[in-house]
């Protein structure tokens, strides 16, 4: 079976500027893959090449084995995309837009799926409105409905939660997990790293057009972050010198411990005893910390 998405040595130049620089990654069936990177990193450019909106300068992209340049129509049959920017549709209503979009994917009669999506995305009461009459969050939901009319097996979400309130964000991610449970593969970009951490099985971190790191979310966090252990002591002690110590103030000590070391390892190497510890707080590294480390920024 060919991979839902395979990106090999992808290059995209806009004039003299290289926006995507030899990017390679693959997406496995039924996984959620996060494409993370700061503004201008090249995420939307990669997505636009997958959807054939932009032509690659070099490299190859295939969707379920279909090359997006040579075999683009077959590649797009199983592909759904939620673009970063809102799309307007002039005089057409939500329901008409979904009907047309189904047709572009080769489905003339699709009322059942359209009704399901309108219901599921809380757009049912708005189905006779035009895009201009919708709120920002409704417009996003319409984009998501459009992307799903033809039941794609690979879904690309380019910042689907930009400008969306917390409640809707949570319900959208819930929906994405439902889709994953049905075996749909998802590629998403987002600037909310906390959400990416919860949601993504694997992530690729991209910066200035280059993939810096690809891997399972949890192992990336392990590799690039450290545990912070904060100890509150009963009695103040003389200044401690220890290679993991990052901060000491009054009776508080903060250590940064490699992810594979624990509180026990720490205590066995300090010269004060358990009895003196009043409280211990262990803070795991986050994807955000890993992200900053990979990009070479100071961690918070």
């Amino acid at each position: 079976m060919s991979k839902p998405l395979s990106v090999q040595e992808l290059i995209k130049d806009y004039g003299p500027n290289r926006a995507v620089d030899k990017v390679s990654f693959e997406v496995e069936p039924g996984e959620i893959f996060g494409l993370l990177g700061p503004n201008g990193a090249g995420k939307t450019s990669i997505i636009s090449i997958i959807t054939t909106l932009e032509r690659p300068t070099g490299g190859a992209v295939s969707v379920f084995g279909h090359d997006v340049v040579k075999d683009s129509r077959q590649a797009k049959v199983n592909l759904g995309v939620v673009p970063q920017e809102i799309i307007n549709h002039g005089y057409f209503t939500v329901e008409e837009i979904l009907k047309f979009h189904s047709g572009y994917f080769g489905i003339w009669e699709n009322q059942k799926q359209i009704d399901f999506l309108l219901e599921r995305l809380d757009l049912h009461v708005h189905r006779n409105k035009r895009v201009k009459q919708l709120s920002g969050g409704m417009k996003r939901r319409l984009l998501i409905a459009k992307a799903l009319v033809h039941k794609p097996k690979l879904l690309l979400l380019d910042e689907p939660t930009a400008g969306v309130d917390i409640e809707l964000r949570e319900s959208l991610w819930g929906f994405v997990e439902e889709l994953k449970a049905q075996g749909i593969s998802v590629v998403l970009t987002t600037h909310y790293l906390e959400e990416a951490e919860q949601l993504c099985d694997r992530v690729g971190i991209i910066h200035k057009g280059q993939i810096r790191k690809v891997g399972p979310t949890s192992s990336l966090i392990k590799e690039f972050t450290q545990r912070r252990i904060q100890l509150t002591l009963k009695d103040q002690i003389a200044p401690v010198s220890h290679r993991w110590l990052v901060d000491q103030s009054a009776n508080q000590l903060v250590f940064q411990v490699p992810a594979d070391q624990g509180l026990g390892d720490l205590m066995s190497t300090v010269d004060f005893s358990y009895e003196n510890v009043m409280d211990a707080q262990i803070m795991e590294g986050t994807l955000e910390d890993a992200f900053r480390r990979v990009l070479g920024e100071p961690t918070a």
């Binding site: 797009k76 799309i87 047709g103 009669e109 699709n110």
Partner: protein, 263 residues
Amino acid sequence: MKTNIQFIPFAMLLNREIQRFMKVLAQTILTPMMTSTLYLLIFGVSLGASIQMSSGISFLEFLIPGLIMMGCLNNSFQNSSSSIVSAKFGGDLEDYRVSPLSNSQIVWALSLGGLARGLIVGGITFLVGEVFFYSTTGAWLNVHSWPIFVFFLAIGGLSFAKFGMSVAFWAKTFDQMSIVGNFLLLPLIYLGGVFFSLEKLSPFWQSVSKFNPLLYLINGVRYGVLGQADVSLSSCILVSGVALVFFHFLALRSLNRGSFVRW
């Protein structure tokens, strides 16, 4: 859920194109009704009464087929070009590209959509013309050959819709769109013998006019309605056939080369 990407994407886009102009019926139908009424009133009835045609037909008879074709060409061009320009602004042009619609499906759907509007406007102009003809002569104008009449309307409308697509894909602004419309299309249509017969021109301008492809499209329709025209039927068929093929490939090429990314 039956999926067929060979025919349905095209059919749905054509359906969308037709619904698009049906939503603004005032613009698509009332405006051309108004213009053709005015033209017929001013040129056909009041000024035309004093114009003598050598071939034994009245000026009103001469004018009606020209106006029908002018309305058809103009509206076919307008429909496909404005559809693309507004889709470029709205971003829905991206929808065409991210779906399995092929470029030739897009070209055919938009050109048939443009033709549909062109035929409606041409039909309305025909009806208004009939009313004028009846009120001045007391008889209806008989169409000489419906197949020839409809053939030239269809070829002309399709060609112009394809031309409109090419221009809309190329244009970066609304200004550029209207420059092509006002400085290229309008003169060619007006000088293509809508309002006057070649025989009224000096030999020099007669030969210049023969290079205007619009002359053949318009006279093809005139032949279909009246059974006579300024140029031969075979030259009309030849030129309009070439125009259709040329504009088809021009439109395809602008889609293949152009960008579907929003402005």
